[in-house]
Subunit: 340 residues, 2 copies
DNA sequence: CTGAAAGCGCTTACAG
DNA sequence: CTGAAAGCGCTTACAG
């Protein structure tokens, strides 16, 4: 295995000079630089990141904690992060962590506590004090994309505004009996993504003067297509006046709900308007009205912030205003219309 | 930052003894071990993996190359790999690599060439000679899950048999005009997953004495729901005798095809039987007949093999017979029936 | 069972 | 602009 000593010998310089030539740090005569580089290329020298990390304290590696990889939103975020990190010369170490439990503690107390990552990106994870403290102790920048808990920087969509916007779209079309298919846990954790969307729904309804009780139906279900399907089946099969519109907390849920409506012989949008959230890749095919967000881009932004915090960024770009929410956009397609 | 020297001092032993006590390698008096462990716990000592790697040559880190994270199959595989690696104390470094291009070369020649991973798992990637050589030179075990190219171990489904089984199911129901929605590139790369499924289809058709030309339709499309939708629209909208059954190369394609059939007013399974491949989480909801495979389990198996190759595995378990294909199973639901 | 010493492969002050 | 030396934090023969 070629080491830097071999390169130095071949180029007729010291290891120090070889190191400087290869890393581009410090002064090296141009002619020397070229000789060193030729030598390195010749013997196929590749620096050992471990050895370099040991002395610089930088690993060029970022840990990503993400609750799912197999939901559209999270997959997109992960791809965005991966691409951005790779092009900055960073590795991505993946921690797929959802439930609280011993596995989770192990990641924080063992895996992330080691000096193997320079920073951590937490996607939609609600960090508790112990977890935040564990990262703080190691002085690792923590960037959060959604989720709750004290991070050094936080990027998030204004999910309350999203919930409000989606609901207002339905109200604006003339609907009054509007149901909300919320993500599980929405009511217990009002600060969470799903909780905020629910709050936004309630905001819009009460602003429209529609009493929350009786008239409105909220049902919580798993944030997935089958979750939306099952949830909608309950919501729509319930005796009593059926809602004329449904705000589903994600596109996957919305598509499940559309499927459920078909099953029950309820026409969309004739008998039921459906709106989702996400801008899922399937949304267009299902002609779904939705509030789009851009998870791939969000991942890229999170990496930008991380690099900024690590002092990597030579560009004069200001930090994206931490207060400003991430971009979202209402896209109206064929699953919403005025009530009959 | 607490180092092993601090632990040693606190416990009143040498660094060597502290190291042995903490790692469990080499002899240490039980009483000493406990003292060292108490000291480590007290000051929150955590070993630096970089320093350890430098001397042992082991990083406890595995690189995973995967073309998508956001397709069901790949997401499941990745989750399976992640879980298995984590529980073995390994990190997972993710390389999301699909297209050939400069980015891809960079991963092989730079990222993977460094000594940061002990082994590589390549999921459904067709490695060329240069890429294999690049890993071989670094002496890194390479385990492939699907895909082509010389790996040290390869796990794969018998996709030809899968294609054959799916087609035979349709033939057995009495269908003769059977179309195949193949994955793009299937005909150019007969050795690939999609190519093999197509071969299996052809095998079954010709075994049934149905001439391949004229009677059978094969269309290639992107392996995704929209791909299946668009492809099926073409296949079913074509003038001439319509197929009575469709073998889609993946469940996502099959679901897209079902959607297309609905759009065209073609009843499934009355006018058209549809079978997919995968056992996608949505399959049940769409009552899809499919040939299931178990990607999460496949990921776990790949990790098993990697650990075996790294000599990690103390268990006497024999290597899973490398020749034996991975498990698949025909699951009949409501999208296939006898032709009218 | 334990310790002193060497060394893994690099980078970084420090002199010159 | 370049080199000699120290040191990052660990582990592993080697003696004892």
């Amino acid at each position: 295995m070629a080491a830097i000593g071999d390169v130095a010998r071949l180029a007729g310089v010291s290891k120090a000079t070889a190191s400087r030539a290869l890393s581009g740090r410090g002064y090296v005569a141009e002619e020397t630089r070229q000789r060193v580089e030729a030598a390195a290329a010749k013997i196929g020298y590749i620096v050992s990141p471990d050895a370099a990390s040991l002395v610089t304290g930088r690993t060029k590696n970022v840990g990503v904690i993400i609750p799912f990889v197999n939901r559209w939103f999270f997959g997109e975020v992960l791809e965005g992060i991966e691409r951005a990190l790779l092009s900055a010369g960073y590795d991505l170490t993946l921690y797929n962590l959802s439930e609280r439990g011993p596995g989770r503690a192990r990641v924080f107390d063992f895996f992330l506590a080691r000096k193997r990552v320079d920073a951590v990106i937490a996607v939609s994870v609600d960090l508790d004090e112990h977890e935040v403290a564990s990262l703080e102790k190691r002085e690792k920048p923590l960037v959060a994309l959604g989720g709750t808990g004290g991070a050094d920087a936080r990027l998030s969509v204004d999910d309350r505004a999203v919930g409000q916007l989606a609901t207002e779209h339905l109200l604006h079309l003339g609907h009054a009996r509007i149901a909300h298919l919320a993500g599980s846990g929405a009511s217990e954790t009002p600060a969470s993504v799903q909780g905020q969307r629910r709050e936004g729904f309630l905001d819009a309804m009460s602003a429209a003067g529609i009493p929350a009780e009786g008239q409105t139906h909220i049902l919580e279900a798993e944030v997935s297509l089958p979750g939306g399907y099952t949830g909608a089946l309950q919501l729509l099969g319930h005796p009593g006046p059926r809602p004329t519109a449904l705000f589903a907390a994600s596109d996957e849920m919305a598509i499940g709900a559309i499927r459920a409506a078909e099953k029950l012989g309820i026409d969309v949008p004739g008998d039921l308007s459906v709106i989702g959230v996400d801008g899922h890749e399937y949304a267009e095919m299902f002609e779904l009205t939705t509030v789009e967000q851009y998870p791939g881009e969000q991942g890229r932004l999170a990496v930008d912030v991380v690099l900024r915090l690590l002092g990597e960024d030579a560009t004069a770009d200001p930090l994206p205003d931490s207060g400003a929410p991430l971009t979202t956009r209402l896209v109206v397609r064929a699953t919403t219309s005025a009530p009959r």
